[in-house]
Symmetry: C2
Subunit: 138 residues, 2 copies
């Protein structure tokens, strides 16, 4: 059995975050010691690492809840887990293309600016009029 500080160190998840995950039902409430301290079984480290890893890959809490539940159930088919991963992948690709478009605009704005006064600034000028952008939408 581990105290919360130990669990935090072993899993790499901050103490307030662990309590937060408990409060939203992502991490099951552990037993308490006589003095009301949370006492975790060793498996909690694994679950929390799983959660952390999924968060690092950008999964939302709801998706992680499903993924973590599925991980506990080895006989189930994995199509739902794979679907969640594919959804996340699509999301990532959309984000990347949006950011790449923003990057293109900024590179151009900065590159075209002669760095004189505001009145000739390409950055301000472009922000002031989207028609001066390469991409129709951002």
């Amino acid at each position: 059995m581990l105290a919360i500080g130990r669990l935090s160190k072993d899993s790499g998840v901050k103490i307030p975050t662990i309590r937060y995950y408990e409060s939203i039902g992502l991490l099951p409430p552990p037993v308490r010691s006589e003095g009301n301290r949370r006492m975790y079984p060793p498996e909690a480290v694994r679950r929390l690492r799983f959660i952390r890893h999924a968060r690092e890959l950008g999964f939302e809490i709801d998706a992680i809840r499903r993924l973590a539940d599925l991980a506990q159930d080895p006989a189930q088919p994995c199509c739902e887990a794979d679907l969640l991963a594919r959804r996340r992948l699509i999301e990532i690709e959309e984000k990347i293309s949006r950011l790449a478009a923003q990057r293109d605009e900024l590179v151009r704005m900065i590159g075209d600016c002669t760095h004189g006064r505001i009145e000739e600034c390409r950055v301000i000028d472009t922000l002031d009029d989207h028609a001066k952008c390469l991409h129709a939408r951002h």
Copy 2:
């Protein structure tokens, strides 16, 4: 003078957002009509479009506040505006590389999975152990 609904349509910024921008001091409080309605000068459309455009390029409100103020002051040197743009560009590049790393992991997880049961699922398996990832960090 435009009412808020008109301003919203002309600028593409939703009414509650316009009021929100006023509340945080990004948009100056307009004069009011006898009946306490906000009445905007035509220039408000331009300012709001500027703000919206900068938001679409991912600038934070604080940066936009500076940029919008600088835009009003044509004689100033534009180095600060350019610096804000360069900062945003760096931020974008960092985001893209983080997302690209996530994408690589997900593509591999999904591609390697034989889509059988959870116990053999590469998605769950990889989430469970970051050592199975390509990238050391995400």
